[in-house]
Amino acid sequence: MNIWEKMSKIDRRIIYLMVGLAVIIPLIFPMNLPSYPSKYAIKLYNEVDKIAPNNQPLLVSADYSPSMMPELHPMFMAIARHCFAKKIRLLVTTLDPNGAALAEDALLKISKEYPDIVYGRDYVMLGYKPGFFTVIMLLGESIIKAYPKDHFGTPLAQLPMMANVRNYADIPLVITLCGSKAMDSWVIYAGTRYHAKVGYGNTAVASADYYPWLQSGQLVGQLNGLKGASEYEYLNEKNGYTKAPKTASKGMDAVAIVHLLIMAFIIIGNIGFFALRSKSKQQGGN
């Protein structure tokens, strides 16, 4: 096998090994690559930032399972930190049965960083309810009808934060963090039917699907995968809201290196491919 054939047919085990190293090394030795927030991440951040403190809540729907956790969980944590630091009330729900445990875990961790934040007054965890888009529709009619009790079994009527929160009319912004079709349902039902303002964070692999909603203004902003999460962390830090460790930014080092590695493999593969093709043409000509 000559060099061109070797370049054209790299053993997949070598690729796996290289990818493994490209992920592990930057996580052990962080490079702290700079962050350049995108237009839509800034838009979403500003939409959250302009919600008045101690007033109407931001609704975040943690519509993700552990498989999407590396990308979406840092987004949830960054948004929660933003809210707690600025005293923006936070209402959390989920359309994914796994989302409740993940969101609960994150809120438990973050609330310890902000001792003056009180459950029931500053944030409420609605939890999971089966029904998918029907839950979104019922939230538009009456939150208390959709969730008579919160995630921990406390009647919603007993929570001071929920006193004046009836439906989407009392929620300035809804953010869904998902890697599934949940986003479509939020736009179609919460956005179009009930005129709620919707923003979203999604896995990078799904981001290309949602640009039509962004362009039409049906979505106010976007956090695109781990990059979006790192951008939110960057904006939080820049505005002095938190000094917590930036988990997404650490992960972005690995993502950047793996992207470069994949590009390098593609270039190598194409060099080998063209060299072999020109060689076979020459042989055919002779």
Binding site: Y16, L33, L102, L138, V255, F265, I266
Partner: protein, 212 residues
């Protein structure tokens, strides 16, 4: 009658809910809210059906000793243990069960689920190396677009040239969106047509029985 009654219910509710959307009265809203709550209750029952179906499927596999039947034991054990811990853990005095449930979720289920998704990175790297070959002009175009978008999502792109993220965004916002919008319109029209066919009883495959 087994087929006629469901068809009549669908026709009646389908037309009623379509008309309801255009009538902004109090009784219309109450009717709408009631229907949504019915739907939520029915959805609750579908979970029971799904769990029953899953247990049946794996039970049959174990009894008939089908290939890899031992994996079915793990599945059923997982379902039973998590369900029992989750349900009984809510009872006063059995809080330790809820703690165990949370620990199993956090330290067993979540890492396994994440690991499954993480494996994709290896396959994607290998697949893109093999598939992204500039065999034609169209493939070359796809390759260049892919390169720019990939560079646009990592900090190196902007570091190399500040305009790369903007070009990447243009690719996503213009050519990508044009095709996506076309697909979305097609899906939307198709969904509306299918809904109409179901309401009018033309499409009956949802009744089961292979359309007989």
């Amino acid at each position: 009658m087994k087929r006629q009654i469901p068809l009549m219910i669908v026709l009646f509710l389908g037309i009623l809910l379509t008309v309801q959307f255009f009538i902004p009265s109090n009784s219309s809203t109450v009717f709408y809210q009631t229907v949504i709550q019915w739907y939520l209750i029915i959805t609750g029952f579908t979970i029971i059906l799904a769990v029953g179906s899953l247990v049946n499927h794996h039970n049959l596999k174990i009894r008939r000793r089908k290939e890899h039947w031992w994996n079915s034991i793990a599945t059923i054990t997982g379902v039973v243990v998590m369900a029992l811990l989750g349900i009984l853990g809510k009872i006063e005095g059995l809080g330790w069960m809820m703690d165990l449930y949370r620990k199993l979720f956090k330290y067993v289920q979540a890492p396994m689920d994440s690991a499954m998704f993480a494996i994709l990175a290896f396959y994607m790297a290998s697949a893109s190396y093999r598939a992204f070959r500039a065999r034609s002009k169209e493939a070359l175009l796809l390759l260049i677009s892919g390169f720019i978008v990939m560079l646009g999502v990592v900090p190196f792109g902007a570091y190399l040239w500040r305009a790369i993220p903007d070009i990447s965004e243009w690719i996503l916002m213009v050519p990508n969106m044009a095709s996506k919008r076309g697909i979305l319109l097609g899906v939307g029209l198709g969904s509306a047509a299918t809904a109409l066919k179901i309401i009018l009883g033309i499409e009956r495959s949802w009744l089961g029985g292979g359309g007989k």
